[in-house]
Symmetry: C2
Subunit: 244 residues, 2 copies
DNA sequence: CTTATAAGTGTTTTTTTTACATTTATAAAA
DNA sequence: TTTTATAAATGTAAAAAAAACACTTATAAG
């Protein structure tokens, strides 16, 4: 970048040094953690145990450290909280309103993360006050966190339609119904069962197993796994575009 | 956000104060400025006149100041350079690789901007070394600026297909051919003239004037204006989605 | 053996997208 | 004034994608 003060390009280095100290800021990351429990889309929130806004719900987050980049900071924050480290993470947006945090000037970079709630029976959400909320029933959040969640939901929707990202939220083996539930949760609308299955099958990235999930219906439902290799081969060879 | 060090939640305030000073960083904005001259998509770059990387091409940018948010910083940087202040701006991504700027640790928030090159005969690109490059012929850039431009191009493409953003790049009155040229530049592919016009007309957001542009052909081409009110009314009433 | 429940399965209609060729208005040249 | 050259303007048919739609089946529980 051309990281320079355009108003005073002369005497550059002196200016820069002065400038640096004056205008340094605290950079945070906040994570919008989406989960899915085979039925509904969830979001992981924690109850603040300190001021300001003590007792209110918020996203989890932390500060960027000197020896890491933002992606690494987001991974660290997530791992510290959930014990997990192979989670889908994507940067969303950077929030910088001057008084967004009344305590101090902080700029925050929002990330969204995807977790299968059930298969990651993580030994402890390590912060007691953490809780999974149904996305429809999430409480009001502090600061600009509601805005962050809104943007994350929009991004998730867009991603789910253009990348097989939904599979990050499912267990390894899943039924068509579960997949459809997931898409219905993400897109927030009902889908036609037959059209959905036809569409998914036409993408040709699932493997149907001989195994059935008998836990929901009398008849049982076949289990599927996502064929990541096939997907990636298609992307490589055909310029395959995942589009639901 | 929950801007806290998760590893040491006890003794919070003391910790925070220590932490703050230690981990403050410099935040910059860098602008990818796209322009259109009725023929081709352009990008505005400047030649650095200081070290490091003196003499090389880069995006324009500047540091975030204490009294502004990032959007404001981007507006300021752009206005300082071009004298313009009603420009379409959109945040793209935040770049934070530790040694992305070899001179110092700097995190940069990239923005993209859209300008009609001809109608904004701005009195001076105020930095002499600034230059419009055809998007296809842009030089190699410093640091991670090439990466930023790549992402901005992808975003522009996506936006152009889903919002009438292209009009920011055109003069108030334009011909169908110019509009098509713009879309062909952004999408980087040839479009069928009849299909393009049919599609545009079906959106019903342009007003055809009685005036012709005689500068290109013998026959002359009708001029159009974008009907912003109509567009916004449609969005409001019908949930109209702009989709080319 | 009856019943209740979710799983599984194809076809038709509608909408959207793509492919494609001729005529027209005008300025410039002859 | 006539001819010529050039880009503008215009519509339809075919193909592809999306949406609408209802009945049969497998099984556990009663």
């Amino acid at each position: 970048m051309f990281e320079e003060n355009l108003e005073a390009p002369e005497n550059l280095n002196m200016h820069l040094n002065y400038y640096q100290k004056e205008d340094q800021v605290l950079l945070a990351v906040d994570c919008i953690i989406f989960g899915f429990d085979k039925e509904n889309l969830k979001i992981l929130l924690i109850k603040r145990n300190f001021e300001p806004e003590k007792g209110k719900w918020s996203l989890i987050g932390g500060f960027l450290k000197k020896n890491e980049n933002l992606d690494e900071a987001a991974v660290r924050v997530l791992e510290t909280l959930t014990g997990l480290n192979d989670i889908y993470l994507e940067q969303i947006h950077t929030y910088s309103k001057i008084d967004r945090d009344p305590g101090q000037r902080t700029i925050s970079v929002a990330y969204f993360a995807l977790i299968d709630v059930d298969s990651h029976h993580f030994d402890g959400i390590q912060i007691d006050a953490a809780h999974w909320f149904d996305i429809k029933e999430a409480p009001n959040l502090i600061f600009d966190h509601n805005e962050m969640v809104q943007k994350a939901k929009a991004r998730l929707k867009r991603r789910a339609l253009s990348k097989p990202i939904g599979f990050e939220l499912l267990p390894e083996k899943f039924t068509m119904r579960q997949l459809q539930n997931l898409y219905e949760s993400i897109l927030d609308k009902k889908l036609d069962k037959r059209n959905f299955i036809n569409k998914i099958n036409s993408l040709d990235v699932l493997i149907k197993l001989d195994e059935k999930d008998m836990s929901v219906s009398r008849k049982g439902a076949y289990l599927y796994v996502f064929d990541k290799d096939k997907y990636e081969k298609k992307v490589e060879e055909d310029g395959f575009i995942f589009k639901i």
